[in-house]
Amino acid sequence: MQNTKNMRIPDFKLTVPVDQIGVEERAARFRTRSIKKESKLFALKLALQMVDLTTLEGMDSPGKVRQLCNKAMYPYEADPEIPKVAAVCVYPNRVRLAAEILKGSGIHVASVATSFPSGMGTLESRIEEVKYAVDEGADEIDMVISRWAFLKGEYNYVFDEVATFKEACGPAHLKVILETGELETYENVRKASDIAIYAGADFIKTSTGKISPAATMPVTLVMLYAIRDYYLKTGNKIGMKPAGGIRDAKTALHYLAMVKETLGADWLTPDLFRFGASSLANDLLMQIIKQKTGQYQSPDYFSIG
């Protein structure tokens, strides 16, 4: 439960200034962190535990989802020390199947909902979709905000929809996708983050993966600052999920360095940080095996999801 003491909702018409050049320089600085040896192995394993293994295609058949769920549970069977991923993320009509397969594995079932990726359904249908996904067995809901309303300055509309979906989630966790690639400015990213957080998001998430650019380090950093300010004000910890465009282990480690140096060690857990990605998991696995055995193996030795 969130501590609501001292949670005065800010005036979203006001803008928290963000300097574009400054935030991009700061984000670039994390890319110069050189992560080696034990600290690298630790971070690679941690990153793997934070992956939301995702498939969000119109062609997602039950067979494809089954394949993905098994990949989630057994990323690399040859080495039992290798951890499982955090969650599998699918469309609502694949939730029941995923939940069946993953039952008892400790892996969360996440579902996109609310007319993903555009959010252009009616409010009623979007609420229904959330309820449906939760009933089918999703314990995490990835919603999208109405970017049209946000860009039009209708911040209360966005606030209210997030709050409504949070209620519809019941016990499930709510991740709010801002679709930062459509928000144009860092200040908008900051504002959308604040709206989502104050309206009840458990996680804020950059992107659907359907729009380019998807997650970038500076955008993620602006969102981490919003999470930090909220924590400093209320003591409540909100999670962060960059999604889309993070394909290689090295980039993932730089994201973790950014989280560690911005929010501290408490956020280095799958409960508060996730990567929404599909191909990242195997690159992490390849690097983990390389780090442990000293040999870099061909992708053919790693199962695809």
Binding site: D19, I21, G22, S34, Y225, E261, L268
Partner: protein, 494 residues
């Protein structure tokens, strides 16, 4: 308790859950000779005295090399070589050819950037991240930039027939040894002057290596001469009758003696001296980026920066939040081995400088100042000072008035832009300043009010060869960099 006060009570945990393993650059990549001679007339020559002094690595106090101790007769030899090269070759050479040599120096530096970066970090104690990403790239940019001017001087100063002065005597400091050498050598050569240059005695190695590179580039003998030695050699340069121009970067105290000597001997001179810059944060500033700018302003190069933003002036409404966030940011700064790629803050350049910084802090403690230092662990050997804040100080305090030249930031608050400007100007210095606000008009209004050579807006410590640099008041005379940086090396006739 107000909302603002509550906000600043929460803290974050930057503990050791995931500490980065050491990722050091290899010192073996650079071969350092046991002994270095004076670079005079295109050759490395033994000093007349036969004596050498030691240069150490300030991060571990180990001996790096022994360097020739020049005396007056060596300097005379160097000046004579420079004069001969000026009259015989360099001033007669077609400007386009002169430019080619400078381009060649730039390109060779580019090829050997890693070597120069490692050596610079070993000799100065600055982190490899800075020598690799800041010092050396700007060194190269300076040579490229001024190489381009060599055959275009008539266009820089149309109709006034710009001509070289002759022999330039240059004295450089220990905080940016190679960078300050580049700032001085590049415009001197581009304008057709020859050079006698002296590095600081604690950091001579990269300049001597540049001497090797200049020789390997085939630059005519005597065009650049390097004399190493104690301060007396610097003052001998300032007083030398056959030197036409002095360029000095260093302390205001020595700058004064050089100014007197130059006036007495009728030399042209430029002085780049101390600073005590105000970094002004308004309550409408982008706070996170301002914190980053403050860190970059004062902890860059351990605060051994003449234009460092050593006085933080913060508007009262945002002071608590800003200082709280600054302290959190400081906890993530990694202090240690300069050659480690993750190091943010390296070693203090010398024992003497460390003692001077600690002197200010001890005085501060004795007079009851509120001093905050981060909890970082410092190596046992070498010279170290953790990032330091001095809070709740005022203009009356010595630590606010004098240049500490270390990782020490004083914090004062203000209420109105006018008050900020008057605090910023209330110093004998005037080298740089910073303004943080979301409002463009405020940048121009406040910026105009501050008497300093460089004002950065929503950034700090940004350098570019095209931009002139220099100070007001006790911060110096003349400008280096840009088209302005050519002028001190030229005779202009109407």
């Amino acid at each position: 308790m107000s909302e603002k006060e509550l906000t600043t009570r929460q803290n974050l945990r930057f503990d050791e859950l995931w500490a980065y393993d050491p990722a050091p650059e290899s010192p073996d990549y650079v071969k350092i000779e046991e002994q270095y001679n004076l670079f005079i007339d295109g050759k490395f020559q033994e000093p007349a005295s036969g004596r050498y002094f030691e240069t150490i690595n300030p991060a571990n106090e180990t001996l790096l090399s022994r360097v020739a101790r020049a005396e007056k007769s060596d300097l005379d030899k160097a000046v004579a070589a420079a004069r001969k090269a000026y009259e015989g070759v360099w001033s007669k050479m077609h400007a386009k050819e002169r430019g080619k040599y400078i381009y060649r120096i730039a390109r060779l530096l580019q090829e050997r950037a890693r070597e120069f970066a490692i050596l610079e970090s070993m000799d100065t104690g600055k982190p490899i991240r800075e020598s690799r990403d800041v010092d050396i790239p700007i060194v190269i940019a300076h040579f490229f930039y001024y190489a381009g001017w060599a055959d275009k001087l008539k266009y820089a100063f149309p109709g006034v027939d710009p001509r070289p002065l002759g022999v330039a005597g240059q004295i450089i400091p220990w905080n940016f040894p190679l960078l300050m050498a580049a700032w001085k050598i590049a415009p001197a050569l581009a304008t057709g002057n020859t050079v006698v240059i002296k590095p600081a005695s604690s950091t001579p190695l990269t300049l001597l290596r540049l001497g090797e590179l200049i020789r390997d580039a085939g630059v005519p003998a005597g065009v650049v001469n390097i004399v190493t030695g104690p301060g007396e050699i610097g003052s001998a340069i300032a007083n030398h009758p056959d030197i036409d121009k002095i360029a000095f970067t260093g302390s205001t105290e020595i700058g004064r003696t050089i100014q007197e000597a130059s006036l007495r001997t009728g030399k042209k001179y430029t002085l780049e001296l101390g600073g005590k810059a105000a970094n002004i944060v308004f309550d409408d500033a982008p706070v996170e980026e301002a914190v980053e700018g403050i860190v970059n302003g004062i902890f860059f190069n351990q605060g051994h920066v003449c234009c460092a933003g050593s006085r933080l002036l913060v508007q009262e409404g945002v002071a608590d939040e800003l200082v709280h966030k600054l302290k959190m940011r400081m906890e993530t700064l990694i202090v240690g081995d300069p050659l480690d790629k993750n190091t943010d803050i390296g070693a203090i350049n010398s024992k003497g400088q460390l003692d001077s910084i600690l002197g200010y802090l001890t005085d501060g403690v004795e007079s009851g100042l509120q001093i905050y230092q981060t909890k970082c662990q410092l190596p046992e050997k070498g010279f170290w000072c953790p990032p330091t804040l001095v809070e709740n100080v005022s203009q009356a305090h010595r630590i606010v008035q004098e240049e500490v030249f270390g990782p020490v930031l004083t914090i004062q608050t203000f209420r109105t832009p006018e008050e900020a400007v008057s605090l910023a100007n209330n110093t004998p210095y005037g080298l740089s300043g910073g303004i943080w606000t979301d409002k463009g008009s405020k940048i121009f209004k406040v910026g105009k009010g501050i008497r300093a050579g460089v004002i950065w807006a929503n950034t700090f410590n940004k350098f570019d060869p095209t931009s002139p640099f220099g100070g007001y008041k006790e911060s110096g005379m003349g400008r280096e960099g840009g088209i302005h940086g050519l002028l001190p090396y030229l005779e202009i006739s109407q």
